[in-house]
Amino acid sequence: MANERSEKAVIALHMKSEHHHTALLSAAIVGICHQYEMSAKKIWQVELSVTECITNIIKHAYKSQAGNSINVTVAALKNGLEITLYDSGIPLPENILKIPVALQNKDLADLNIRGRGLYLVRTLMDSFKYTTTREGINQQVLFKTFS
């Protein structure tokens, strides 16, 4: 899906790396989604994906250490929302980034307790990109069309 880059608005948000702040940041993004009259289903998909990305940052990038910064920008493009999450923690390891595109629920004994977060983000978003800059900033870019 091509992201047409004629930005109408960019909102910047910031939170500390504590799980109990996630709901508030998600609520802000849900509010933005409502402004663009996205469907309830799409809004849930965005909310869940953003929540998963933040959880990954707190757990993996910051190793559950409180007080680190998570910055988020929400850009309203011509055809959808582009949400970018920034952190300066440890980049996500390859084994997490390489989670399969489809989940296989095996026997109960082998059923994984964790590891579904990025699968959900990849499934629910129109595009997802993870990069680390030379300056050591990790960026997760999510895109979802308005309609």
């Binding site: 289903k41 929540t51 757990k59 307790i113 579904r116």
Partner: protein, 110 residues
């Protein structure tokens, strides 16, 4: 308290009174359920009627509880998942793993 439990019709019903079952409370929830696994009943119902949003951490906790309860030859059922929770269970194919009832009453009546 975010969680509550009581016994009814031979089931231990564990209810979540938070609207979100996510990473902020998933560890607490797992500890709460584990604490109740040792009770005499061997049938557990997780009442999700108040949970409007669940993420993979919440789901992972349900899987962990399910595996532990199953390992004790006991049963765990989910009751009353709300639309966003139901969608997550479907999306991850966990609807094929858990036995899910649309209401608590249905779960209590088997």
């Amino acid at each position: 308290m975010s969680f509550d439990s009581y016994e009814k019709n031979g089931f231990t019903v564990i209810s979540v009174s938070e609207s979100r079952l996510d990473a902020s409370i998933s560890d607490l929830f797992q500890a709460y359920v584990c604490d109740r696994m040792t009770q005499n009943t061997d049938q557990f119902i997780i009442d999700l009627s108040s949970v409007k949003f669940m993420d993979s951490s919440g789901l992972g906790t349900l899987v962990a509880c399910f595996k532990k309860i199953n390992g004790m030859n006991k049963n765990m059922y989910l009751a009353s998942p709300q639309p966003a929770v139901k969608d997550l269970l479907d999306l991850t194919s966990m609807d094929k793993i858990f036995q899910i009832f649309t209401s608590l009453e249905q779960a209590l009546n088997g």
